[in-house]
Amino acid sequence: MTHPLSDNAQAILLLTAPLLLGPGVVGDAELLSPGEYARLAVHLRAVGAEPASLLGGDVAGLLAGGEHGLDPARAERLLGRGVLLSQAVERWAARSIWVCSRADARYPRRLRAALRHAAPPILYGCGDAELLEAGGLAVVGSRDVNETLLKYAEDVGALAARSGVALVSGGARGVDQAGMRGALLADGRAVGVLADSLGRVAVSADTRAALRDGRLVLVSPYDPTAGFNVGHAMQRNKLIYALSDAALVVNAEVGKGGTWAGAVEQVSRLRLVPVYCRTAGPPSEGLSALMTLGAHPWPEPTDTDTFLMLMSAPPAEKPPLDLRSSAPLRPTLPAAMLLSEAIQGYASAPVQVTDVDAEPAEAEPAPQQTPNPPQAPDSPAAQLFSGVRSLMLSLLTTPKTDAELSGTLGVLPAQTKVWVQQLVEEGAVERLTKPTRFVSRRASLFPTHDELGASSSKPKKRTASSRR
């Protein structure tokens, strides 16, 4: 089940992964962000090298002349973590956790095809990786829901199981787990895309039998030892959609939480799969709002034939929303939300790179000769974000939490998160932990406390949130 790591996977892990050896330890602040790594990958491709080439010695030579912004000394420090890597690999392997890099042929084809350059460079998993190619129905919803909705999610899971369709979820408490439980109890298959704690879930008694039987696979783009992190939870949403054929939103709150953000991102921009909303049971303002944004009503099938028909025949595309005429259509939405959607289209667009890693030829998406962003660079959204970028970078010369930022900017926290995340992915803003704060990289004249800590290898004290 676990494979030896390729040299490319080793190099990518060294550059991007925190390599945690136990709960209660923190990773290195020097790690390359996904955006930084993507730029490096482009550079390496351009000079005819691959990530593994960096293990060969001449790091400075390989990095020379690129626009990746990576300081050779920082690269050397990250690549010098080989012994740490070997220990982390051992820790994962003991828990039957496999690791796969975007440069490996066995990287899930669905993720590569759907997310292209935004596909996570590293994927950790436990269980039969083949299940990741099977598609299925994504069931998403929040953690805190009532019994009725839990029962609803379980029933959907059971119906999917009876229909031979896998259930894809985020594996979180609440709707996610209920859907998964319904599927597994009915002898079906499930895919859990975790935002944290893969190492713990992989050995939990609840999932053991299904993992062992090859009916469940758990995956995560985050270190198996890492704990919960809101940003991670938001980011893994697109993986849930990418691994499914259709998605059903069981509940969502307008403008709040990962379910909302993930669904909006799908219906308004990524459009990887059809997104349905629950129509049976208690009404939901959030679901109505999602449907006005482009989600479809779920016809609530009860038999396998109808269910399979639904899975195989995507609903007719809704016409793209006309923002200018949207106000009467969506009376429940605050004006700022409309603005945010318009911006999201550009703001969270994948980093515009043409190539990544050293992907095997057959799995490699055709290089984009002409970058084709969803919106032209001079679109109103792009102009707005350009203003937002310089404003935020100047605000973030000192670290701020996202709550502080949304207070200063006077926009919804969800919107702030989207903007900040985009700047993090660009590498312009850095995420600090304990508490989570953000700081501008370029505009920072003085290293922050955390950066100092990282470079002098001082112990980073923190209170362990250990399990027992």
Binding site: M1, P4, A11, L14, G22, G56, G80, L84, R91
Partner: protein, 690 residues
Amino acid sequence: MRFDPLRALALLRAGASDPSVEFREAQEEAIRHVVEGRGPLLVVQRTGWGKSFVYFIATKLLREGGAGPALLVSPLLALMRNQLEAARRMGLRAEAIHSDNKGEWREVIERIHADEVDLLLISPERLGNEQFNQEALQHLAGRVSLVVIDEAHCVSDWGHDFRPHYRLIQRTLGALPKNVRVLATTATANHRVSEDLKSVLGAALTVRRGPLGRPSLKLQTIGLRSQAERLAWLADRLVELPGSGIIYTLTVRDARLVADWLSAQGHVVAAYFGESEARPALEDALLKNKVKALIATTALGMGFDKPDLGFVVHFQAQGSPVAYYQQVGRAGRAVSHAYGVLLSGAEDDEINDYFIRSAFPTPAEVEAVLDALDVAPEGLTVNELTLAVNITRGRIERTLLLLSLESPAPIVQEGGRAIRTIAPLAQPFWERARRLTELRRAEQQQMSDYARLTSGHMEFLIAALDGDPSPHQGPALPELLTSVSDATLQAALTFLQRTSVPIEPRRQWPAGGLPTMKVKGRIKAEHQAQPGRALCVWGDAGWGALVKRGKYRDGHFPDELVKAASRLVQEDWRPDPPPEWVTCVPSARHPDLVPDLARRIAAALGLPFALTLGATGVRPEQKHQRNSAHQGKNLDGAFSLIAAPPPGPALLIDDMVDSRWTLTVAAYLLRAAGAGDVYPLALSVTLGEE
């Protein structure tokens, strides 16, 4: 990195405190190889060749060039006590973290965090340790530029030396990216072992071998079946052996026994084993020739460096020719004449058999442990497992260790609990266990062949190590006499019969307590037994055979044992305050055997006998209960007080002592009913794992 030969030589001279010393054959080349980063290197050189200078100097040069620290993994840390000095002299900041220096960990970890450690020495067990990984390794491993694996033959499944944690190292090495420097060192690697290492470290592995012959060593084998004969031989011949040396035994008990005997015969010796207090002081005494010999288990190990060691004698045969070569090779490194003598006896095979048999858990043990963990959502502690499965604590721990070192592992240990993973125990585990067991048997056979050799000893060992088998010229030393004097032999026999075995009282009720008796946790001091004694170890060379025959053949213990027991109490042991009456442990299965023995011992001591305890019914035999939790539970409510105990201290008699729970429960009942101190006295103890 560029290698600077002048700087390397300067470091060697500083380390050796000798301004004119030159590099030994191949030392400089090995250092150059490591510093220049020319791929993984395996150095096979005899102990004392100077492997530590290779990694000390290489590390120092790497540090001076701005590289990160080195991590040295070595199973035996005696290595450092007389070599750390050399490191300090060359300005290399070396620190160690292992189970013997827990008090220093905090400080060492702080120095790691501050990047004030150039070389960290750890035992292989550390790598699998959760706490060490989090507190130390997480902060060090991100900068390590060189990994040194000492005793690298252990990495191979075919190595003679099976150390479970080297499985972990094997995988660690396999998972290292190629930009990490790796140096593996060993004194002994036959072809199969170096092939195995090649498969772990990659085909690019460079192997550098030195010669195996030891021209200064005179090897001899002497077969003396009984322990008494071997004790007598040692007493008679020790003075003829040159300088000071090491006498190896297979068990801690034998190390103590031989040391006690030789001391009683007027020789200046001391016992040395893993749990010895003051191990550094004992090593120092040997280094400075203040003792004629240390009587040691393998705890006095590889890397202990005394260049003028005059002899190595084995009281019992080692299990494999390679292990034997390693141990005997410690003699005569820097002197022209030294003896390596193998005494072999009747019990060697039995002890080695035990080591071979207990190396791996049985399929039934593995199944029981995994089944118990399967139904425990939060996993189980070892204590909880002793309640769940009837397997000795030691075997449970062994099973957990070996399972957790598999990859993927069927269990992981986290926060003191064993937790089941999704991985099944794969077939290769059993195949490896079978192959290793067969290998051990073959090596055992090789050792019996060696023990019977009359000539060509060194050639035999070199051939076993795949070295150059051409004829070997030994030193001009006479063969040692193989006979022993009658007087010494008689003294040795008496000594063995007068050697008693201590019985330590238990201080803690088993996990879960004993519900019928309503006891749990610590045993109150006023309810504990006093320290007791046994005449012998079950089946051993003193009284062992007589006890066995009395119990299982005759159903009656002979007067010799009664006499020996009363002499032990009156002359050797002399408990204070002395016992005033005698009682015994009851048995429903053999109601008269022990009371009869106890009555006769009481008569010989001139003390009254009182039957105070009765058995409430036939229980499953205690010897089939494998751990404290099961043994305790089996005895819960098994005995009752049938008569009020007389006042004053009592002698509590039993024939055989195994887990000590019988004595513990009996002493508790007596003390709770108002008896004075209770001194357990048994004919024999079994040396079980509990």
